[in-house]
């Protein structure tokens, strides 16, 4: 038993906030799984994040310099394998993110780690790691164990733990490894095209439709409903992918965050974690769904089990 390794994530010079959430995630199992919490930052100029990461709960910061400042899956994997070989952690946590989807499974299978992704609960049973994630479209919880693994790698869901608030002065060091010649080359970042459509991040009342809307012809009806009740019309990803509404209306991980929203009405949206990433913080969420087990009901304040079309017809009458 020799500690816990937390992998920080950054992009374009900015530390991704989930990095600090991971520090909080491991505090409950420290002791059971290892006393020392080491946070690793990988990339050229990694030291720039020292101050942001100097928080309570971190014992040691390790900076791993690489040829590129930005993410490369093969270099990241090699850096972490080398560091893990030195500190032999019983638990390694990374954010469940687009970057980690590019290296975590590879790191785990090459090194014989126990492994699970999109984990939202971390516990210890004796000295063994127990992880909780969702299953079957988040309708059940699944508790996983990792028999025989001396190291377990978990990709943790963002927005689950609160970052630490107190600053601290953890030890800091550099770690050198021999970076492999990567077989991929970073070219550029491309921002989503600017549009003159509405800015969903600024809207206080959003009515979003999901795949339950059925077909493109039905969109108009909900546009009218949104107008009538005074909401901006948003959507889940399949609606945008189908081109029924512009991408600028998509709420969620790869779309917009409903940052200023106070009232969010989700109609015909199942509540996939990537959709929730953009709206679960909203104070008042009303969900309308025909499926009583839809996971959207787990974040909604008010739920209606019913047909979005019927509800739309009835609701309109109140705002005529």
């Amino acid at each position: 038993m020799s500690g816990i390794l937390v992998v920080a994530e950054h992009r374009q010079g900015v530390l991704r906030p989930v990095s600090l959430e991971l520090v909080s995630a491991v505090q409950d199992v420290r002791g059971a799984l290892g006393d020392k919490v080491t946070v690793a930052v990988i990339g050229a100029g990694a030291r720039a994040h020292q101050q942001t990461l100097s928080m309570a709960g971190v014992d040691e910061l390790v900076f791993i310099d690489t040829p590129d400042a930005e993410f490369d899956p093969e270099v990241t994997e090699a850096a972490l394998a080398a560091l893990a070989a030195e500190i032999r952690p019983s638990l390694v946590v990374v954010p469940h993110s687009v970057d980690s989807m590019g290296y975590a499974a590879s790191l785990a299978i090459r090194n014989g780690y126990g492994f699970a992704t999109d984990v939202f609960g971390v516990a210890a049973d004796g000295a063994a790691v127990v992880a909780t994630r969702g299953g079957y479209g988040q309708k059940v919880n699944v508790e996983l164990e990792f028999p025989g693994a001396s190291t377990v790698l978990l990709a943790l869901r963002g927005g689950t733990w609160k970052p630490p608030v107190d600053a601290a002065s953890p030890a800091a060091r550099d770690f050198a490894f021999s970076a492999p010649a990567s077989r991929s080359k970073n070219v550029e970042f491309i921002s989503p095209p600017a549009t003159n459509d509405v800015d969903m991040t600024a809207k206080e009342f959003i009515l979003s439709v999901g795949r339950g809307v059925g077909e493109e012809d039905n969109i108009e009806r909900f546009r009218e409903l949104a107008d009538t009740v005074g909401a901006a019309l948003g959507c889940s990803r399949p609606v945008a992918d189908s081109g029924w509404l512009p991408k600028s209306r998509q709420i969620g991980q790869s779309g917009k965050t409903a940052a200023q929203c106070k009232l969010y009405m989700a109609m015909g949206i199942s509540g996939a974690i990537q959709h929730l990433a953009g709206m679960k913080h909203v104070e008042t969420i009303i969900a309308v769904n025909t499926d009583p087990n839809a996971s959207i009901f787990s974040v909604a304040k008010y739920g209606v089990i019913g047909d979005m079309f019927e509800i739309a017809d009835e609701l309109e009458k109140h705002f005529a």
């Binding site: 989807m101 785990a108 079957y136 309708k139 991929s184 550029e188 206080e204 009405m265 739920g303």
Partner: protein, 258 residues
């Protein structure tokens, strides 16, 4: 040239379902099966590369699953895949995604594809890791969550755009052979024609047992317990649609001060 497309039969729960007596999975009687949504997009990507190259590249779909998983392969054949392979062994019951990746690697080693196009994740359990685990076993370069790509059959590299959080894209050149995991929305998947469906029904499906592949299929995790989480925090609005709508109208007025 050859493109390998691993596909998965995903499980959707019926409205009412029960957990199995051993507490480790849902009782199979309450499950409906379908082709994973992401795999529609990876197959379409493969088909477009094939068609752009005049049809020469071979598109091979592979799934790991029992007899009735064949259905998803027929769906892919109906959309134009050239060959379909199904691998199974009863010992794979309860295997995790890394074990599945090991089986797929066995197939990939025999097939020696130039490109492997997997889905980002599956819509039932959303692990998002099988494709990238496979890349490790084959020691192939890889990129995950590819929302756009530029590639012609035979190219030494593929220009991909990884779709990052917030909708930002990251353009990366990946040398081939490579494993890519394909994101929703990268294209518009075709529907199978009636003729395609008819023909697919008569096409052979190559069957392998995991033992034929001679690998070890160790899992990296085991389900300890599956359970329905505590009831949601949503306050349910009961009544007729008219009554429900009346209550929603009230909530809207309260929240917006209108």
């Amino acid at each position: 040239m050859k493109i390998l497309v691993p596909v998965k039969r995903i499980a959707a729960l019926e409205e009412d379902f029960e957990i199995r007596d051993d507490g480790r999975d849902v009782d199979g009687d309450f499950i409906n099966w379908d082709l994973n949504e992401w795999d529609d997009y990876s197959l379409e990507t493969a088909m477009q590369i094939k068609e752009a190259a005049g049809g020469e590249p071979e598109v091979v779909v592979v799934t790991v699953g029992p007899d009735d998983a064949e259905e998803v392969l027929r769906k892919c054949l109906a959309k134009g895949a050239d060959r379909a392979i199904r691998v199974w062994d009863d010992a794979l019951e309860g295997a995790d995604q890394l074990a599945i990746a090991r089986v797929l690697a066995g197939v990939a080693k025999t097939e020696a594809p130039d490109l492997i196009l997997a889905g980002v994740q599956s819509s039932d359990h959303s692990h998002g890791c099988t494709g990238i685990a496979l890349s490790a076993l084959l020691d192939m370069p890889h990129a995950a969550v590819v929302a756009a790509m530029t590639y012609s059959a035979g190219d030494a590299k593929v220009r991909v755009q990884r779709e990052l959080e917030g909708g930002m894209l990251h353009a990366v050149d990946v040398s081939t052979p490579a494993v890519l995991t394909i994101q929703l929305g990268i294209n518009t998947p075709r529907y199978a024609s009636l003729r395609g469906i008819k023909q697919a029904a008569a096409r052979p499906i190559e069957e392998l047992s995991a033992a034929d592949l001679g690998a070890d299929f160790a899992s990296a995790s085991r389900v300890r317990r599956m359970y329905v989480p505590e009831k949601s925090r949503a306050q349910m609005i009961e009544g007729s649609p008219a009554e429900q709508a009346a209550r929603i109208a009230e909530i809207i007025r309260e929240a917006t001060g209108a």
